[in-house]
């Protein structure tokens, strides 16, 4: 349908033009060449930022999962005063524009005398993405059969043992799916990173600063590369997700679920 055309047109154009020999613009595209990909490969500063982005993304996944898992567990199982506030606070970055998250964290770091660097970006990403981890893991927990845990406890295992040997393996797929999602989001994160960078850039910010200086089809090329990777990981994510699906669960329930406040 037409909507698909609309959705895909820019992407198709982008990929096409990364092969455009003539440079930016013009229609129809002139020669087809791999020149820009060659330029791309020979561009060390760019790959430096790719490395930065990768390390930030990995750490962000770590932080988000390490905190999202207990958060999901808490929301799923515990009742405590202020739970509603806690839930809203954790999930807020999901819908709050990144600029607000980024700015408030900037103020925190500045007041605390912490210099901006990749570390601050990592903390920012991690914090913002806890919400993603929590929603994903919460959904996974909901599908999880509580009886297994009960059985384990009845048979004498401690809570810790139960966690490691029963809960966690069952959440494996949720964890991986969440990790993939968080990773992808972190790699493309701009709004929060914008306020928290120090001297080194992440990939999207590097592309951004280059864009401001002028377009080159090299950017088309790197974009196509990113595109291929993103598609790859999202297909993987989807495969994992649907593996555990029973009729109702959709990868989308996060939003309607959270906004409907149905998880308190």
């Amino acid at each position: 349908m037409l909507v698909f055309v609309f959705l895909y047109l820019p992407i198709v154009v982008l990929v096409l033009y990364s092969f455009n020999g003539q440079g930016v613009g013009g229609f129809p595209p002139r020669e087809l060449t791999l020149e820009w990909y060659r330029v791309l490969l020979a561009d060390p500063p760019l790959w430096g930022t790719v490395r930065n982005s990768l390390s930030v993304a990995f750490c962000a996944v770590g932080i988000a999962l390490a905190l999202g898992l207990p958060a999901a567990l808490a929301l799923d199982r515990a009742e405590f005063p202020g739970k509603g506030l806690f839930r809203r606070l954790v999930l807020l970055p999901l819908i709050l524009p990144g600029i607000i998250t980024g700015l408030s964290l900037l103020m925190l770091f500045v007041t605390g005398g912490i210099n901006l660097s990749l570390l601050t970006i990592t903390l920012g990403h991690g914090t913002a993405l806890i919400s993603v981890a929590t929603t994903e893991l919460f959904a996974g927990l909901q599908k999880f059969d509580r009886a297994q845990e009960e059985a384990s406890l009845d048979l004498g295992a401690t809570h810790w043992q139960t966690f490691w040997r029963v809960t966690l393996p069952n959440l494996k797929i949720s964890l991986i799916a969440a990790a993939l999602l968080i990773f992808t989001l972190s790699m493309d994160e701009i709004a929060v990173s914008f306020f928290l960078i120090g001297r080194s850039n992440t990939l999207p910010l590097e592309i951004w600063s280059r864009l401001r200086r002028g377009m080159t089809p090299e950017i088309n090329a790197i974009s196509t590369v990113i595109l291929v990777f993103s598609i790859g990981s999202i297909l993987l994510w989807y495969r994992l997700r649907t593996r555990t699906v029973v009729a109702e669960e959709e990868p989308t329930s996060m939003l309607s679920g959270t906004l409907a406040g149905g998880q308190a």
């Binding site: 992407i11 806690f86 524009p97 600029i99 009960e150 088309n220 595109l227 993103s230 959709e250 906004l259």
Partner: protein, 282 residues
């Protein structure tokens, strides 16, 4: 089944982190918004309402805010107009390859934001694909100017970005609509259109609200799209904030605007939650 120790152990770490990295920063936002900047570019910790007064009295902010809300509303509406039929089609009409089509809709979401914005730049420029196309086929003889660097471009680009976001919750909601209700409606003599209007649409409203809220709030807070394709006439409120933290150096004022946005978002969320609770029956 869960001991108190377990619950404490589980809730504490995220609570701590969230307090440090979310609650306190928001509190700082609050504080900064009441301070001011001295002419020497130093932030003075003097509590005053100057920033808020400035926001209310200076018409420039009102103009930009108004334009931002218009853009956000436009994007939301268009995204809904595109997303709902898509979701409906996928949920009710597509029988084969439903999964594949679904994935196809999701994929643009994971293509980098910048990448998509940049692609639109390529398409809309006076040197760009669309103009080239139009000229090549002699539909126009000079490049059409308003395509790029205008609010139009911002709306277009953001609609493109947020349509999948809007699609997702609507699709989820539609999938949850009990098919037997639809059947019953048709059996009782309603046309498909009537069924859509009176049965399906109301039942899918939570999804619509979720998607719309998402699109509206995020568009309002977007500062990249205006910088990429907006031009001087396409400046949005978040750009103002960005410059206040950059070259215009007025953190307190920027904080005031951000805090206002934060409160607006929270209020909107509360409102939507209320409406949803009253609307759904379970």
């Amino acid at each position: 089944m869960y001991t108190r120790r377990y619950k404490c152990a589980v809730a504490f770490p995220p609570l701590l982190w969230v307090t440090i990295f979310l609650l306190i920063p928001y509190a700082m936002l609050f504080c900064y918004s009441f301070w001011r900047v001295s002419p020497l570019q130093v932030i003075v910790h003097e509590w005053n309402l100057g920033n808020y007064r400035e926001l209310l009295h200076n018409s420039m902010y009102a103009t930009v805010l108004f334009r931002s809300m218009l853009i956000a509303a436009a994007v939301t509406i268009f995204a809904l107009l595109l997303g709902y039929p898509l979701a409906y089609f996928l949920s009710f009409r597509a029988t084969m390859r439903k999964d594949l089509l679904y994935q196809l809709v999701i994929i643009p979401l994971w293509v980098s934001y910048l990448v998509r914005g940049y692609a639109w730049k390529t398409i809309l420029g006076s040197d760009g694909v669309l103009n080239g196309f139009l000229q090549y086929f002699h539909i126009v003889h000079h490049p059409v100017e308003f395509l790029l660097y205008s609010p139009f471009a911002v709306v277009l680009m953001l609609t493109h970005i947020y349509t999948p976001f809007v699609f997702l919750p609507i699709y989820a909601a539609l999938e949850h609509v009990p098919r037997n209700l639809v059947e019953a409606s048709l059996d009782l003599g309603a046309s498909p259109a009537q069924t859509l209007w009176r049965v399906i649409l109301p039942l899918s409203l939570p999804g619509v609200l979720a998607g719309a809220t998402f699109a509206f709030v995020l568009t309002l807070g977007d500062f990249l799209a205006p910088l990429l394709v907006g031009g001087p006439s396409g400046i949005m409120i978040s750009n103002v904030v960005v410059s206040l933290f950059g070259t215009a150096y007025d953190w307190p004022l920027g904080a005031a605007i951000s805090l206002s946005m934060l409160i607006l978002v929270v209020a909107l969320l509360f409102l939507v939650e209320r409406v949803e609770k009253r609307w759904t029956f379970s």
